[in-house]
Amino acid sequence: MEVIGMDEIYKSLAEIVDEEYVSNRKEELYIYSQDPGMMEPHEPDYVVMPKTTEEVQKIVKLANKEKIPIVPVGGSMSLSGLVIPHRGGIALDLKRMDRVLEVNEKSRHVVVEAGMTQGKLKAYLERRHPDLRHSIPDAPPSATIVGNIVIHGQGRLTQQYGFNSDMVTGLEIVLPTGEVCKIGTCSVSPYWFALAPLPDLAGLFLGWFGTTGVITKLGLKLYPNKKIRDAEVFVVEDPNLVPDIIYRLTHTEMTEDIVLGAQPYPPIFKDIIMIMILITGDSEEEIEFKRRMIWDALRTYIDSKEGGFSMLTPDMKQNLLKMPSDDTTKLADVLKGGGFEYAGPIIPVEKYPETYKKLLELTSKYGITFGHAGRVIGRSHCMMFSFAYPFNRADPDNIERTKKALHETNVASLDIGGVPWKPEVPSQKMIMERMDKNTLELMKRVKKLLDPNGIMNPGNWEAK
């Protein structure tokens, strides 16, 4: 991209944030050209790290004026290449903006800046508000709250309360044209407690991957944090049983989270599906009551010997109760290769068996190993089914096969009736090809309205 006055841009950025937090050096451009997934890298022209909304606003105005692409960067943990500057421009690393602005205990919500990490918010609440928690995903602690929301992420409380993006109570946005906008009650009142009862403008920004504006502040629901947590793992061989098991479990309304898992290795996990059920309580009585309800819910499978609750050792339990879990992160070293990529389509629950079968087919076809996780969303309204493929960065052949498997996974997910979650650019295109024409047209109009110069994270959600 040829931009007139590159040095002037650098100087302007340095004036906005201080030279220490701007770079156009090769090393920064290299790192910010890619995320830990396997999408093709593309370097930005600048990396800049603002500290305040005002600085973000100035940067966005500059970018809009000079028609320079701008890509908001959080934890870079989507692995879908959503932070890759496909058309160069400015990589806007928001992680210096990581303050907690407010915790409202009685109305259970928190207001954070855009760069707040999952880990830091967890630690903050544990120390200062131990009765409150947020829905933490099983991503590394360096992933950001806003990044997770913007991709409709899920977390430990998703099974109870929906996608993490359903937990938003307010936003502060810098629009691509430079205005700072508030969304939700905070636009009318000093309090950030809800999006309703106003027209829901958050939908213009959630799930858009930063293509319609830069979120600078977020209001997020908090939930009761109970003193005791415990885990059960229900094991089955037959994937056809899973939808009914999930239905029965969610009917009890007793579970903190329901996460499925499967992997071919080590042998103890081969050819079985594990359904991890987490429960919380403030007393042993509460825990035992919930446990018995859960056991009773699955009695028919127990009696038929088709399923059973595992015997968990203390260290297994400790691992299951870890928040965030690092099991997903560790997938990256399965092939001693430093990477894994995953497709995690959102599917109707009854499609689980078909999707599971597809997983086994694809991994066999491409000769690759896998890790599978599934997370139930809400009271079994849908679920996230992940096909995770560890890959070896140092093995180009393995990367090629994995890419092909990933592509076919996305096609298969759509064919089954699911929708790829946090889709990378090729997958976004597939979604848009199948999308209702009027819906697509609406997306285009929204995008054009908010971002007339097309500067925001270009390449993403770009319909022809």
Partner: protein, 344 residues
């Protein structure tokens, strides 16, 4: 390989005056007449409620003073009749669990006696440290895993299939004696193997036998612990009661009182891990509750474990009642002023 036959004598059973095997069962209420009738059914390969309700706790092996292996009879028949004490997916897991994987070491060349087998408990490697273990070699992994656990899973034929290979894997190192950390390993080679006519070309030494003798060597350095403990006797100890005295010998040497309580020695209660695996949650809660309450009422400060599986199953319940769970060898290390490494 010819099928291994259980050395079970029908006449011994038919002429038994007590039928203690079933009469004394801690999990079923059976009188002598019922016991006789049910044993006859099982001897003739017929169905019996015993096959469906057995907690697989091994006690009947001990209660049979005629050494006639009623427990192995029951578990063999469960398999023959397709009765799964534990749900099928869990059985599958544990059948697969002991298949040697990439990381299991096939041969331990360089290991020399005294050699300790850690079976499939690598998490204890760090705890095999200190004065008691200065010159030991360790072997471990699925190539030397003992197998008898499958009696809990309704497929004891796997034991007969795999045990001879395990023995071969160990024997190829030409060890004369092998010390077994896991009570079940020791019992596999001293009780199960002979019951099916499987030869064992090395001498199995129980871990407590080794510990006691090693402690004697360091007797001058022992600082008496002066604590009261409950001992959690593992199920497989019922197969090898002759080595039981080592528990009392060790505890006496290190100044530890084994409290007298209801559920100890021949009356010991299963850790209930298997009962939970059988999905009998109420019974699991009840058995653990009685066991732990018994420890509390008798004034135990620690609960000493022999078996890592018991430790995994019962330590949480024990700790919740303020009793410290500890493995026997860690207790011995405390008596020598060494810190316990714990396990990760």
């Amino acid at each position: 390989m010819p099928e291994l036959k259980l050395k079970f004598n029908e006449k011994l059973c038919a002429t038994c005056p007590t039928y203690d095997c079933l009469v004394r069962c801690q999990y079923m209420n059976i009188d002598k007449d019922t016991a006789k009738a049910e044993m006859q059914k099982m001897i003739h390969n017929e169905d019996s409620f015993v096959l469906h309700q057995c907690a697989t706790c091994y006690a009947c092996e001990e209660y049979c003073k005629r050494g006639n292996h009623p427990f192995y009879l029951i578990t063999d028949l469960q398999e023959k009749r397709g009765i799964f004490p534990i749900p099928k997916p869990l059985v599958k897991q544990w059948v697969n669990a002991c298949i040697p994987g990439r990381r299991d070491i096939q041969q331990f060349w360089g290991a020399k006696e005294p050699v300790i087998s850690l079976c499939v408990f690598p998490e204890y490697v760090d705890s095999i440290q200190g004065k008691l273990f200065e010159d030991v070699s360790i072997i471990m992994g699925r190539y030397v895993c003992c197998q008898p656990g499958y009696v809990h899973f309704g497929n004891p034929s796997i034991i007969r299939e795999r045990l001879p290979r395990m023995i071969e894997n160990i024997a190829k190192h030409n060890f004369k004696e092998v010390i077994f950390f896991h009570d079940e390993c020791y019992s596999a080679f001293t009780s199960y193997a002979p019951a099916y006519g499987i030869e064992v070309p090395f001498k199995p030494i129980h871990f407590f036998d080794y510990l006691y003798n090693k402690l004697k060597e360091h007797e001058g350095e022992i600082k008496l612990l002066n604590i009261k403990v409950a001992y959690q006797r593992p199920c497989t100890s019922r197969l090898t009661p002759k080595k039981e005295h080592f528990v009392d010998d060790i505890l006496s040497l290190i100044g530890v009182k084994r409290i007298e309580r209801k559920y100890d020695r021949e009356n010991c209660l299963c850790c209930a891990g298997t009962i939970r695996g059988q999905q009998r949650y109420d019974l699991f809660v009840d058995v653990q509750k009685r066991n732990v309450e018994d420890m509390v009422n008798a004034g135990a400060e620690y609960c000493v474990f022999n078996c890592p599986a018991c430790f995994n199953s019962l330590s949480e319940a024990v700790a919740k009642k303020g009793i410290k769970p500890i493995m026997m060898h860690d207790l011995c290390k405390l008596a020598l002023g060494e810190k316990t490494a714990g396990w990760k």
